[in-house]
């Protein structure tokens, strides 16, 4: 049987147990030109919360009754498509389900001989690409820049900070909890990390970026964005990548200090990783190289069982995870 998680109702605020429904269907049979993928891992990302709202955004919302959209990686177990063979490993937009019937659109082959499967949903997948293009092309970092990163222990933030370090920046993270902060500094090599759960973030920014911030990479929004705005240097860049503190709010917190953009001739720019698709391969090669050289460390936090999707998803917002959050949905 194929267990699939469908969107039952649109949540107000944080999703609840009745937001999704797990259904069981027969494993689909495929037609000519199609393949059947057995899903190994499903990617859990903050952006998924946005896809559940019935509002205009950069992609259409997930429809009610549809399988929940998600990045996946899995193995072809049946093929009627000339370009794919059984055993090929494909990363793509398979959704939260154990078997994916597709014509291959939105999926691409990956090489798991050097890199484990899970990396293709993390550093070599959307979060890594987001970090790479966000900090380099939107943040436009240069040597000596002071870079502040929120969500520093997360799938995107952890890579952003390391790429900034590789490029000679002074990098300060913001993360929740002492353990995460230690990880960010000791394992990932950030210069400092501010624990928003136990420290005054504004004072932390002041202490660790005494001359101000050249680039703020924002994954969280809310008051932390305001604190970063209040400490900008001239010509600073703010990369708006996400706003996890706001995704479950009915009213978005608008940054009251936005006029700091004027005072400091600074720029706040939004980004969506999909725009850089043509350059994913180039970025993947570069990041793979850094990984092999030991300059780019990445971690996945893997939970098991499609039945546990809801509990695992909530970890995105409670902060109880480190690095890339994945759900293993293949059954033994």
């Amino acid at each position: 049987m194929n267990k699939r998680l469908v969107l039952r109702e649109r949540p107000q605020g944080l999703p609840n147990p009745s937001t999704w429904q797990l259904v069981e269907e027969a494993i689909p049979s495929i037609d000519d030109g199609e393949i059947l993928i057995k899903t190994h891992y499903v990617s859990l990302d903050p952006a998924m919360r946005g896809w559940m709202n019935d509002t205009k955004s950069y992609i259409p919302p997930v429809g009610l009754g549809e399988v929940m959209r998600a990045g996946t990686i899995g193995e072809i177990i049946e093929t009627k498509h000339p370009e794919f063979k059984v055993g090929d490993v494909l990363s793509g937009w398979g959704g939260v389900q154990q078997y994916i019937k597709t014509d291959g659109q939105g999926h691409f082959k990956v090489d798991t001989s050097l890199v484990p499967m899970t990396k293709y949903l993390g550093t070599l997948g959307m979060p890594g690409m987001t970090a790479y293009f966000g900090i380099l092309e939107v943040g436009k970092i240069k040597e000596g820049d002071v870079v502040l990163v929120s969500g520093a222990a997360g799938a995107v933030g952890s890579v952003v900070g390391q790429i900034a370090k590789i490029n000679g920046c002074h990098v300060v993270g913001i993360a929740g909890g002492k353990e995460k902060c230690n990880y960010v500094v000791d394992a990932l090599g950030f210069d400092a990390c501010i624990d928003y759960k136990s420290e005054n973030v504004y004072q932390g920014i002041k202490a660790h970026c005494p001359k101000g911030i050249d680039v703020y990479f924002d994954n969280v929004g809310g008051e932390i964005l305001d604190m970063a705005l209040s400490r900008l240097r001239m010509h600073a860049r703010i990369v708006i990548c996400g706003a996890i503190s706001q995704y479950n709010s009915s009213e978005i917190y608008g940054p009251k200090n936005y006029l700091s953009l004027l005072v400091n001739r600074a720029t706040m720019q939004g980004m969506v990783v999909l725009d850089y698709a043509k350059k994913y391969r180039e970025a993947g090669m570069q990041m793979g190289m850094w990984m092999m050289e030991g300059k780019l460390k990445t971690e996945e936090d893997v939970y098991e069982g499609i039945e546990n999707f809801y509990d695992t998803f909530l970890r995105l917002f409670s902060g109880e995870k480190r690095g890339k959050l994945l759900l293993k949905v293949i059954e033994p």
Copy 2:
């Protein structure tokens, strides 16, 4: 005697009659290397409100007991400086006073044979330069862009919209009152103008920019910025030039729709005209040409008497003025 307006106390919110004090002093005598300017006109600009707050900004605040900072234009009546002669007309930062003793720093000679003096505080002065560099270099307009301008009847906005029209854009203004809106459309040639005092601005934007906005030039901030954010096109640019609706507020309204920057891969960038000083001459020549060709119309709203500074200043915030607000301080 020299009548000078000094800052007596820092206002909370809107300035009141005791914010400034008019003092009379002897006309200063000058030393070697100095000149004495008789002020003809003082420029009244929204930015002046910001200079009165004791906060870090792009220039230091006006000190208590100091002459209120303002742009001025006047004529040299005495000189002990080799580069200046009696009768030269100088534009500069003379402050709200009738006589200016200076070594010439911050003042520059202007040619009033072709253009009346008042234009050098308007279109050929700071407001015009702000408009020129803001819409061209920060807004990066190109032919066919949909451009929305708030404060459209003001000294900056009126020039912004006309430059955008000259560059082949579709230009929609926002202004207060039917008379101003008619002026913006009929005299200045904007394609449309939304009256925020009597119309629903959001519906107006929707109606006049049905495909969304490529460039929003913001002079006002507040909810209108939020409405513009909600109607951005892909890769839109927002120029943060000012926020007149917020200058007298104790708490700034933060734009709740800022995540539209993400969805639309859009940019919000602040600007300060002082950064473009090296290119003022080039811009002035271009705008002078447009004025002579009849493509760029500008208007000054001139009040008289340094005693009337306070009442005149308030017109900036009540909206009871059109085009560049000036105070004639020379006495017959």
